[in-house]
Amino acid sequence: MIQHGYELDFSKQTFGVILYGAPGIGKTTLALSDGNNGGDTLLIDLEHGVGRTNPIHRMNASVLSAATYEEVLSDLNTPEAFAAKTIVIDTAGSLVDYLKDWAMRTKSDARQKNGAFNGLKGFGYVKSELESFVNKIKVVMNKNVVFIFHCDEKADKDGNPIQRLRCEGSFRNTVWTGIDFGAYIQMIGNKRYACFTPEDEFFAKGCHGISGHVEIQNLTEETSNDFLQKLFDSARKNMAAENQGVEERMTQYKGVIAAVKEMVEGVTDADTANSCMKAIVSMDHALTSKKEAGKILNDKAKSLGLRFDVPTRSYVADGDKK
C-alpha cells in the first residue's frame, strides 16, 4: 500500500531507546514503563535483574530468561513475544556476552586453541548476528526496543568524569544509529532525570521534541510506571505535527530539484546558463533546494568551460571578461 506523506498515521510508530546509568538508578523499572496491561512489555532478562524491581511496577511485563542465545531466539518466536509492544534487552552488554558464547560454540574459528574467544574472527560473527537480531525485533516484529546498558565512569584527559556504555565490540557505537532516544539516567539533587541532550559528561540523543532533562517521577504503590508510554505518546504527537510541515516542504523540494535538473539539461552556453540562473533564483524554494540548484547549475557551467564572474554576477566563457 502506498500512502501520501500527509496520510501517514504515527499512532503506532515504534521507537528505539537506549537507557544507561549507574547501578541502582532504576534503569530496568524505567524500561518497563510502556503499557498498562500484562504482556505489553517483554523483558529479555539476561542478568536476572528483574527481581530487583518492585512487582507492582512490572505488572505489564513478561520476562524471558534464557541460558543461551539460541534460547533467546527461540523464545522470541512465541506468541508472548509477538503480543508485546516493547522488547527490553537487559543488558545489551550481556547480549554481546551471550553472542560471544554462541559464536564460540557454533563457529570453529571463533575459539582459539586454548579455548579463549578469538576476538578477530569472533566479533565478526557477533556483529552480524546482533544486526540480524535487532533487525528482527525492530523491522520484522515492529516493536519498540529498549537497550539497557550499564555505565562505566571514566576520566577524560583533564580528569573530568565521562560516562561510557559498558559493552564489548563495536555495538556501543553502532547502536546509536538505529535508535530515536538515548538517555543518561542520573540523580540531580534528590530527583531523577532522563537526560536526552548530550553534555560534556555523557552522550545522549533526543528527537521529535524530546530533549533536555526530563524528570522521572518517583514511583509509589499508587503511581503507575508509565514514563516510556508518555514519552512515546508525546513523540508520536510531535511527529504527526512535524510531518504536516515537512511533507509539504519535501514535496516542494523534490519538485524544485526535478525542475532544475530539467532546466540545466538545456544549458549550452553562457546565455542559457544565465537565464537558468535567473529562473532558479525566482523559484519557490524549500529546504536546501536553492543551494543544491546552484551547485547543479555550477557543475554544468564548469563542464561547458564557463566560469562565474563575481563582479557581474553572471556566467561567462572562461577567459572572457564581460
Binding site: N173, P198, K291, E292, K295
Partner: protein
C-alpha cells in the same frame, strides 16, 4: 578589517587543548601551520579518507565499482564448464568488490541524490570584529548536511559516540546554511556505519566558539598578527 574563518582553523586550535597526552607540541605546531595557511602534507590517513569518500561518491552516482570475472577464469579450464549457473545455463560471474565497499555502500545509500562539495558561507560580526565564515559541505540533501569521516581503526576499539560534539563543523555549517535543519556525521571504518546528528538546538552557536578563539588569540599578539595578515579577506 574582515578576516576569514573556517572549521579547519577552529578545530586545529581546539585540538591543541583536546589532543592525546604528550601530543601537545605536535598539535600546537599543526595549528601554527594551519594559521600560516601552509599546505597540509598528505599522509596515509588523509589519502585513505579521500579514497573512501571517492568510493562513496562513485557508488552514490551509480558507478560500477566492482570487477566481474567469469568463475572459469579462476580455475583450471578442465573444470570450468562445471561453473555454470544451473538456473540459467550461463557461465557464473564472480564479483570482486573494492575494500571498504560495505561501509561506503551504507553511506552512499543515505546521500544518494544529494549535491557534493557544496560551498557555504556567511558574514558574521563577533565581538565587534567582522568575519567571513566559509567551508565545503561533503553532501547537502533535502535540508540535511552530511559529513563523511573515515576511521582507519575498526570501531570495536573506539568509543565514538559524542566524539564530534565539540567539533566546530556542525555549528559552522548550520550557521552558513540556514535552510538546513540538521547536520549528520557519517562515520565508517570501511565496514560499519556510525552516525551522529546535530541540530541548532543541540549545538553551540558558532559565534561563541569564534569568540573563545579570538579571546585566546588576542592573548597571544604574535599569533593574532599572523591571523590578521594571513586570513584577511581581500578587497
Amino acid at each position: 578589517m574582515k578576516t576569514r574563518i573556517t572549521k579547519t582553523l577552529l578545530d586545529s586550535w581546539a585540538y591543541t587543548f583536546d589532543c592525546y597526552e604528550g601530543g601537545e607540541e605536535d598539535a600546537m605546531n599543526d595549528f601554527i601551520r594551519t594559521l600560516n595557511r601552509e599546505p597540509i602534507e598528505e599522509n596515509e590517513a588523509i589519502a585513505n579518507g579521500k579514497a573512501f569518500e571517492d568510493l562513496c561518491f562513485r557508488i552514490a552516482n551509480g558507478e560500477k565499482v566492482y570487477e566481474e570475472k567469469l568463475a572459469g577464469e579462476l580455475i583450471p579450464a578442465a573444470v570450468a564448464s562445471e561453473i555454470i549457473e544451473p538456473n540459467t545455463g550461463e557461465p557464473k560471474i564472480i564479483r570482486s568488490y573494492p575494500k571498504w565497499y560495505n561501509g561506503a555502500k551504507k553511506i552512499a545509500d543515505i546521500v544518494e541524490g544529494g549535491q557534493w562539495q557544496v560551498h557555504v558561507d556567511t558574514d558574521l560580526t563577533v565581538g565587534g570584529r567582522e568575519f567571513w565564515l566559509h567551508g565545503f559541505c561533503d553532501v547537502v540533501k533535502a535540508g540535511v548536511i552530511y559529513d563523511i569521516k573515515f576511521k582507519q581503526k575498526s570501531f570495536g576499539g573506539l568509543d565514538l559516540y559524542g566524539s564530534y560534539r565539540n567539533h566546530s563543523q556542525h555549528s559552522a555549517y548550520l550557521r552558513c546554511l540556514p535552510e538546513a535543519y540538521e547536520f549528520v556525521y557519517l562515520v565508517s571504518d570501511g565496514d560499519e556505519l556510525y552516525t551522529e546528528a546535530y541540530t541548532r538546538q543541540t549545538c553551540r552557536p558558532i559565534e561563541d566558539i569564534i569568540q573563545e578563539f579570538m579571546n585566546w588569540l588576542e592573548s597571544k599578539p604574535e599569533l593574532l598578527k599572523i591571523y590578521e595578515e594571513k586570513w584577511v579577506v581581500d578587497g
